[in-house]
Subunit: 293 residues, 2 copies
């Protein structure tokens, strides 16, 4: 019987936990607001009242929460103690590298292995197990144990970034920063196209079928053109959090990121205009506003 | 017998003229430095001493020169006069939209149709006829006449941007700006990866096989990682010219481009460090320098 504990039933956590249930796992789930577990409980999951109650001794727990503080709240002494020797915590949240390194050290005291496994996936991709997971921490055999569960849960591919528990988090932050910068870039050129009297749809089609024929540009480009940011797949407030996290890393490692500064300010303007709960591509509207459109 | 006049035998012009010769066109060629025509003359082309001598009355001339001023020099009264009524000038240079609009008006006085047809292609792609051409100006039947020649010359696909002779130039400048911004983005994240102790090659492979699986990121990413900028496919001096052209357009249309400002300054720093004749991806080195690597 495959068993797993699952913490965090948000936009991504819920479809991933659902995948595990459908793959035949016996799962215990925890979420701050308990109502989110309803569909899983109907499917046979057990909902618990405290995060550490999802853990079996020596078993596997997956967590996917919104930020560093939320993770520190649930990944506490009680959780590490309940997992105990040989336990495995697969931490899928998008957080700072140093939080992962701290937690890895902390878990080790209880004999628990902590791995970072942040995932690139919008909710519909997660549901379809089309996510890309960056994995790091522990040793190769621990990562191999996680690899199997991640494939059942969400991953079409798992990328191994070695023994540093923070490495996968850095790569995830890099990816999200590149997505944000790509949104800003398209926002600027679409506004410029419109001011030039061009048909922006044709510009979009040319670029995304040739030089920029990648899902990022195709999908976010369409969102920006259609100006459809509700309901959100990924909230702008979380996007800003991630860009702030890579700027924090920039400070720590002394590696300037001028594009991240620029993108951060655009996101901040958009949040000041009330868009924090909309899809993060909504900050593309600032380029239109700045152009007087 | 298909005939065409060709002006400008640079890194792109030479392979394109060669393609036309091989496709059976009778061609007359002009280049400021005449030696560049040698291989074409061996193949049967006629080299002439003045740009207007490439023209046949009512025929087709293709030009591909380095900048707006060079184009104004060759696309003079004599050229328009020699082409005369029903003549077609297919202008493939990467130039400002207003230069195209001026020349279209000017050519019209001689009965000549001027079309903008800038091409996205590195030299090896041009030789393989894998270029993407943006076409605008004139009317649909004039563009259709150009379409056939462009396909014989360089284009795997021609994108039609309507009757405004400047439209295709704006799209080309947008594309080049997006390439430059992508180079800067990768330069920043690769430097950050290195400062984080990550294996940058693995970060590159993950990103360019998933979210950023587009030739732009794959090819320029490899150049940046390998730090190989000689010989240049596209010189940094020309790259800066193009970013300055889109900033000029930004001023004219009152559409801010903060990312273009950032990229321009990075290119300028790289040129100040002596890289103007290297491949434009060389400006990625500034992110390394700025990070103290």
């Amino acid at each position: 019987m495959k068993r797993v504990g699952f913490i965090g039933l948000g936009n991504l956590g819920l479809p991933i936990a659902t995948n595990l249930l459908r793959a035949g796992y016996v799962i215990k789930v925890y979420n701050r607001t308990k109502e989110k577990a309803a569909s899983l409980v109907v499917g046979g999951a057990q909902a618990v009242s405290y995060s550490h109650e999802v853990a079996d001794r020596g078993g596997i727990v997956i967590s996917l929460v919104s930020d560093d503080n939320a993770l520190r709240d649930v990944a506490n002494d009680e959780l590490a103690g309940a997992l105990g020797n040989g336990g495995l915590h697969i931490s899928m949240s998008t957080i700072g590298a140093n939080t992962s390194r701290d937690l890895a050290t902390h878990h080790k005291k209880f004999g628990v292995n902590y791995l970072a496994a942040p995932v690139f996936a919008r909710p519909e991709a997660a549901a379809a197990k089309k996510g890309f997971v960056c994995l790091s921490g522990g040793n190769p055999s621990e990562r191999s144990r996680a690899h199997a569960v991640l494939t059942d849960a969400v991953a079409q591919q798992v990328f191994d970034f070695g023994n540093d528990a923070g490495a996968a988090n850095v790569v995830k932050l890099i990816g999200n920063f590149m997505l944000a910068a790509s949104i800003e870039l398209m926002a600027e050129v679409f506004a410029l196209s419109e001011k030039n009297g061009l048909e922006t749809q044709s510009v979009y089609e040319m670029l995304t079928s040739t030089l920029f024929a990648a899902p990022v540009f195709q999908n976010y480009g369409r969102l920006i053109l259609n100006r459809k940011f509700d309901p959100p797949s990924f909230r702008l407030a979380l996007g800003l959090k991630d860009v702030n996290l890579i700027l924090q890393n920039s400070n720590q490692t002394k590696s300037p990121l001028p594009m991240a500064n620029l993108v951060r300010d655009k996101m901040m303007k958009s949040i000041a205009h009330g868009n924090d709960e909309r899809d993060w591509a909504a900050f593309s509207e600032e380029a239109r506003r700045d152009s007087g459109i």
